[in-house]
């Protein structure tokens, strides 16, 4: 089910082709800045194929983190007005072709023990150089 941030989560109309990877720009689906330790990429599917977490790096504030590193980053903040970028190690996507991107992002608002805010978004995005 979509929530009110679903359309907003996948911020771009495109997948950005990078050297040997693609970049997916995402927005923080919440009202305030959060530290990376409370942000979790729950699942990413491209054309229905699940992408394992080891192939994803998260970029914020010009720094890159593996998903495993994000869990410890209580001092790296994702500000509400900034795009985060998921860099996905996936060669072989064809430029100008559209792919179905299906992302679920979990947030654990740090003043709400035990609560998870789950946002799902699916969009067809075209690979652009």
């Amino acid at each position: 089910m979509d929530n009110n941030f679903s359309a907003f989560l996948l911020a771009d109309q495109t997948l950005r082709a990078e050297a040997g990877s693609i970049g997916i720009h995402i927005r923080l689906p919440w009202y305030r800045a959060l530290p990376l330790s409370t942000v979790e990429v729950a699942s990413l599917l491209i054309d229905g194929h699940s992408v394992s977490g080891e192939r994803i790096r998260f970029e914020i504030n010009g720094r890159l983190w593996t998903l495993a590193q994000c869990a410890d980053r209580i001092d790296e903040w994702w500000y509400v007005l900034d795009d985060g970028i998921l860099h996905v190690d996936l060669a072989g996507l064809t430029p100008q072709t559209a792919y179905q991107v299906d992302l679920t992002l979990n947030l654990y608002p740090p003043y709400m023990p035990g609560f998870a805010w789950v946002t799902h978004s699916a969009k067809r995005l075209q690979v652009q150089k």
Partner: protein
């Protein structure tokens, strides 16, 4: 404890204002900058009180540069607005699955309270995630800075929930005028907002799961228990996690304490969140009984600010400005009738 009060005086000293949280949609979609929101609030006469969420409005919060602070104070002067409350966060679960220690939590709150003093906010809103001991240890700082601090009594809590009682005990012992509470009127709801249920339905929420949640929500039980009960039942039925999350929010934003119950803590109320979701054709808030709440706070002699806090942006793309306007029109009418 029952507080005996003289019969209500005519009128009320309750003052209106707004929290910029009401304009979350406008802000995070980059349609208005922070300074543009302040200008718009002034232009639409939604003040004089202004509340902000530090971690929303200010990049790098709780670090405040002197340049930012000076610009903010200048904006307040220019627009004839008054800083009322800085909403800070008691982020006890910064590390997933692990609570901050009391010492860490005190250190986490301190710069946020200093930020309030630097920006000229007389009150900070904290949260019950932090145990009472954290605020007790912050008393010397808030007294020195002359900034009042209070956790927000927000759904699913009531004035008799165990964490609130623990704070009330501590307050009775410490007896500092800088310690208080901030009622959020979502804790005195009479209904789940119809617009919220309509949104869930439009997103394909199964009706029987929605009915299950609403029925549990209506039960006269502790609200936190109700959220847990719903989550467990839904998980047992293998309901999709996005659906559970969307409905569990209902228990976190709305609960059903009697409006008159607030009288019991009235002398400790330092600020109010005038929560609202939607309004009917007569301008009545459909979920929260303002026609009862405003007279109760007048009777209790409350004379501080109430920030209009429209939270429909959790599920709706409607205009924050339009909903704040409706809420304040309703409150002005009710205040004039006292």
């Amino acid at each position: 404890m029952t507080v005996t009060k003289p019969p209500p005086a005519a009128g009320s000293g309750l003052k209106l204002g707004v929290t910029l949280y009401s304009f979350t949609t406008e802000f995070i979609n980059r349609r208005y900058t922070f300074e543009e929101l302040l200008a718009r609030v002034a232009e639409q006469n939604m003040g004089p009180g202004v509340e902000i969420v530090g971690f929303q409005s200010i990049r790098g919060f709780p670090v405040i540069t002197e340049a930012f602070a000076e610009r903010f104070r200048e904006s307040m002067r220019l627009h004839r607005l008054t800083p009322t409350c800085l909403s800070i966060n008691s982020d006890m679960v910064l590390r997933r699955g692990q609570m901050l220690s009391v010492e860490e939590a005190v250190a986490y709150h301190e710069p946020q309270i200093r930020a309030a003093a630097q920006l000229g906010f007389p009150v900070v809103r904290s949260q019950f995630a932090a145990p009472a001991e954290v605020l007790r240890r912050l008393v010397p700082l808030v007294e020195k800075l002359q900034v009042k601090i209070g956790p927000e009594i927000h759904a699913p809590l009531s004035i008799h929930s165990p964490p609130v009682l623990a704070y009330r005990d501590m307050y009775a012992k410490v007896n500092s005028p800088y310690l208080g509470f901030i009622p959020d009127f979502g804790a005195s709801a009479r209904n789940v907002p119809p617009s919220y249920l309509a949104f869930l339905k439009s997103q394909g929420m199964p009706e029987e799961i929605m009915a299950l949640a609403v029925n549990i929500w209506r039960q006269p039980k502790d609200a936190q228990q109700k959220r847990e009960e719903f989550t467990a039942l839904a998980q047992a039925r293998h309901v999709d996690p996005t659906i559970i999350s969307a409905l569990a929010v209902m228990f976190s934003i709305l609960s059903t304490q009697e409006p008159r119950a607030w009288l019991e803590i009235m002398p400790q109320v330092i600020h109010i969140h005038g929560k609202c979701y939607d309004f009917d054709d007569r301008g009545i808030e459909t979920a929260i009984p303002y026609e009862e709440l405003i007279p109760v706070f007048a009777e209790g002699g409350y004379s501080g600010y109430m920030s209009t806090e429209w939270e429909g942006h959790l599920y709706s793309q409607a205009s924050g400005f339009e909903n704040v306007r409706r809420h304040q029109a309703l409150c002005r009418r009710l205040l004039a009738q006292l």
